[in-house]
Symmetry: C2
Amino acid sequence: MNRSNISMAVIRRLPKYHRCLSDMIDKGIERISSKELSETIGFSASQIRQDFNNFGKFGQQGYGYNVKDLLEAISGIIGLQHTYHLIVLGAGNLGEALVNFGFDKLGFQVDALFDNDPEKIGRIIHGVEVIDINILETYMSKNPVDIAVITTPGKVAQKIADRVAISGARSIWNFAPVDLIVPDDVVVEDVHLVDNLMTLTYLLNE
Amino acid sequence: MNRSNISMAVIRRLPKYHRCLSDMIDKGIERISSKELSETIGFSASQIRQDFNNFGKFGQQGYGYNVKDLLEAISGIIGLQHTYHLIVLGAGNLGEALVNFGFDKLGFQVDALFDNDPEKIGRIIHGVEVIDINILETYMSKNPVDIAVITTPGKVAQKIADRVAISGARSIWNFAPVDLIVPDDVVVEDVHLVDNLMTLTYLLNE
């Protein structure tokens, strides 16, 4: 398969398949028909077939899907067979919350927090050390970083993004309320919390 | 204007206009051409015109936009002229981070946190009291709640959503990793952090 031909809409549905199938495993469900899967996940059966067709052949006509096999296949497609090294830039409340969120169970390991506050540098937060942001480049030259998580205030976020990109991070998970400009080979996923709140507000007044 | 005819794509662009125009105000910019606005925000000039046309007439052909007036108009469209009352369900790290995020500057006021942990109940976190989740209904019968923020573990999120919906909340900002089922008149905005991470992971491996 050529992963770069897959549309973002399909890619953004993969985590939902993963979540739904994980829940079924937890409930002890071993086999599921495409109709049942469709009802549980809320996508049409034809949508599900089309999504899976992008990645090869799953299940057997009339026999449905083996839940464990399908979850493993989806996990493989997403890339969850590896461990990913994360650093969190900004050791504020949000950075702290992300360190302690439990992503490690899925293979996302936060190796370090960075901050410029002398009061915070050197502290251990949920088992993760807060390192001086001044030595970010030194850290990144010695340690693998797959995902740089930016939780800094908006006004310094672009500068931090520049620094992690130059130092070799290939993906940024951005919580700062700015639209980052990054090199073409760096992937950015934004979580714009204020935008979410404003969307809710608009819809509330509809 | 009929707000319910506006597409979600347009609605989701409004916060970005708000952010971009607020930055311009901070920089002391008073007037901007549609071309400059387009370059700053990254939408085409025709896209911007179309977006604004949904809501009436802004700016004047050849004269561009008065930034302050435009920001006020966008704020009004989003509904930022009011104060919104939020409660946060789940006083964990994420709940705590949200209380302290600074949304109050935009008129989003967190009035209470709720939890079932006796160790947490009664505490004041960033000026907000943690209340026993058992008295959620009593609280909601006496206090206005515009937005219920769910930061509980996934397995209890649906039950909490049911309770806040029955008690009159018209919108839910959901951070739990589940797809909530709510009455038609309740708006849900999801922030699925694990889904974001998986999307990044997929793209990293592309």
